[in-house]
Amino acid sequence: MSQGLNMVVCIKQVPDSAQIRVHPVTNTIMRQGVPTIINPYDLYALEAALALRDKMGGTVTVLTMGPPMASTALRKALGHGADRAILLSDRFFAGADTLATSYALTAAIRKVGETTPVDIVFTGKQTIDGDTAQVGPGIARRMELNQLTYVSAIPAIDREAGEITVHRRAEGGVQVLKTKLPCLITMLEATNELRRGSMPDMLRAERADIETWNAEAAGVEDIGKCGMKGSPTKVSKVFAPQPRAEKAAMIEGDTAQAKALSALDVLTTADPKLIQVIARQTAAA
């Protein structure tokens, strides 16, 4: 039997952005009490890796760069069935943008690969706090992995030939791509559903010692390329969006029909060409 796949899944712990509030007086982010979650997009990457492991054998290592409390995210991933968890944590990593993040993660992934070469690195499509979708391509470039972004399915892997076929979402369609391992895959959302771990998974996760690596342990060569220092982009200002000056003008009416008729009136008065536009559209269809 051929050897299983050695996979690394990069996950990030992020604040649940739905619950973030802006302080109306000071205009700062109020993070107090905002729960953190695993970046939702990374869950699709995790499941894709777990599914491949089930099919082909191998190991799934979850990796995150973040503060010590990010170990919660890793433990959660273990509870879903990941085999190993590594926390990359060092004050030198603080304030990293995507370029610096991909630099540090690359060092750690190389380290993981020292014992057994890594076949596939998975990341989510993007994060919900940074939201850039750059870290994946960044890692791929640095490690010279074949880059497969927005992957929706992995129909085939040929372990002997070291080949992988994926479906990649493109504008207006799906590309079917074939490339060689090792590769980097950023997984598209809604492509699978993360499994619930079993009770033994949960117990193992709770008991696990999370391996924590600092820059040195991860084999980072140039501290200057990490964190704030290694980040070409700088946030110069954070501010709350301007609320619209006035609220919606309410359309009144006693019945739904009456309201609909006034709405029609209001809309066609505000935009006299509206009916023409509709007529053109419906004629075209």
């Binding site: 943008d97 750059q134 504008e171 959302e189 982009t233 359309i251």
Partner: protein, 362 residues
């Protein structure tokens, strides 16, 4: 982008001087996204925006066209001028027929290294984001994704503003010590200018030094979206969308019926995708599509910030909600407080009647 900080004043006070070797970087570039012989409209939007930046910097505006030799590429070059470019950097090569990361990254990085632009804009599409991430890492420069506003600051830096933390905040990001300053912008965020068919300009041709054998990734197939409506939502003139207020999956019908009468596209808020009531390509919002229609009708949608950022670019928004305090009324232009399940059919009826009257009247 950098991690958004806790405080607004995270930018450190010190003004950074651009390193000497980067001072020769000049001009604003827009990557023209050409695939299957067609240019993604976001490229035209970016040219319109790029023109403003070029004017502010008093430099030229250029488009980058990568594609196989042929009609589609010729057309793309011509249109790039129509939409305002002074110059086009062109690489024609059969390897650039279908998008793949490697040849496109090489082509674009080589162009940048030879011609040194100070600002480079790409569409935040699946292609643009794939390419931008790879190119920025290779060039070790800063990249700001999904910008909603671009401006030039007094020190000639690109100030790129984008939503952060799920759209609850905006942040402005600068790349002060690296060039080019890269940014991606989602389709429909910037307005598209009118083309000037008489315009033309200089074409600078370069070559792609690459052979098929050097490219590991092969395109086996391209499966176009069977559902041709797929890409239309972002460009539709009228959009009707429903949210959890529709209550049951059956009621999606009411949205579709109104959309049909209006010749509109239909969409929804995210929970409906999660419940499987609609397909993911119909989600409107931060993690879905940004729309910019003439008219947006939102029924039973609360107007959460993530939905708002994807829809408030509409010229006119009509919101239907049972709750008079729903946040959607904070950014809609017109509101109806009422049950969407009754208002939607009534609207469908009202529009249908009006249209048939108009038709009869000729």
């Amino acid at each position: 982008m950098a991690q958004a900080p806790n405080t607004p004043a995270a930018g450190r006070g010190k003004k950074l001087e651009l390193p000497e070797h980067l001072k020769c970087y000049k001009h604003v570039w827009v990557f023209i996204e050409l695939e299957h012989g067609r240019v993604h409209p976001v490229s035209w939007e970016l040219l319109t925006e790029g023109r403003k930046l070029a004017t502010a910097l008093d430099v030229d505006l250029a488009g980058v066209v990568l594609g196989p030799a042929g009609e589609g590429t010729d057309q793309a070059v011509a249109e790039t001028f129509h939409y305002g470019a002074d110059r086009v950097y062109l690489i024609e090569d059969p390897l650039l027929e279908n998008y793949r990361t490697d040849p496109f990254t090489k082509a674009l990085t080589d162009l940048v290294n030879t011609h040194k632009p100070e600002v480079m804009l790409l569409g935040a599409t699946t292609l643009g984001r794939d390419l931008a991430g790879a190119v920025a890492t290779t060039l070790a420069t800063g990249l700001t994704a999904d910008c909603t506003e671009l401006a030039i600051d007094p020190n000639r830096n690109l100030a790129a503003t984008r939503p952060t933390f799920g759209g609850s905040l905006l942040c402005t990001i600068m790349t002060q010590q690296a060039r080019p300053q890269m940014a991606t912008v989602r389709p429909r965020v910037m307005a598209m200018g009118e083309p000037d068919r008489a315009r033309s300009g200089e074409v600078v041709r370069e070559r792609l030094d690459m052979a098929e054998e050097q490219i590991v990734t092969k395109v086996l197939d391209f499966i176009p979206d069977a559902d041709t409506n797929q890409a239309q939502l972002a460009y539709a003139d009228i959009v009707v969308a429903g949210g959890l207020g529709l209550q049951k999956p059956e009621n999606i019908r009411l949205v579709k019926e109104l959309a049909e009468v209006l010749g509109a596209e239909y969409g929804c808020s995210r929970p409906l995708i999660q419940k499987g009531w609609m397909t993911a390509d119909r989600q409107i919002g931060q993690t879905g599509k940004t729309i910019r229609p003439r008219l947006y009708i939102a029924a039973g949608i609360s107007g959460a910030i993530q939905h708002r950022v994807g829809s408030e670019g509409a010229d006119r928004i009509l919101a239907i909600n049972t709750d008079p305090n729903a946040p959607i009324f904070d950014f809609a232009h017109h509101g109806i407080v009422g049950d969407a399940l009754q208002i939607l059919p009534a609207l469908t009826e009202a529009f249908r009647n009006r249209l048939s009257v108009d038709r009869l009247a000729g």
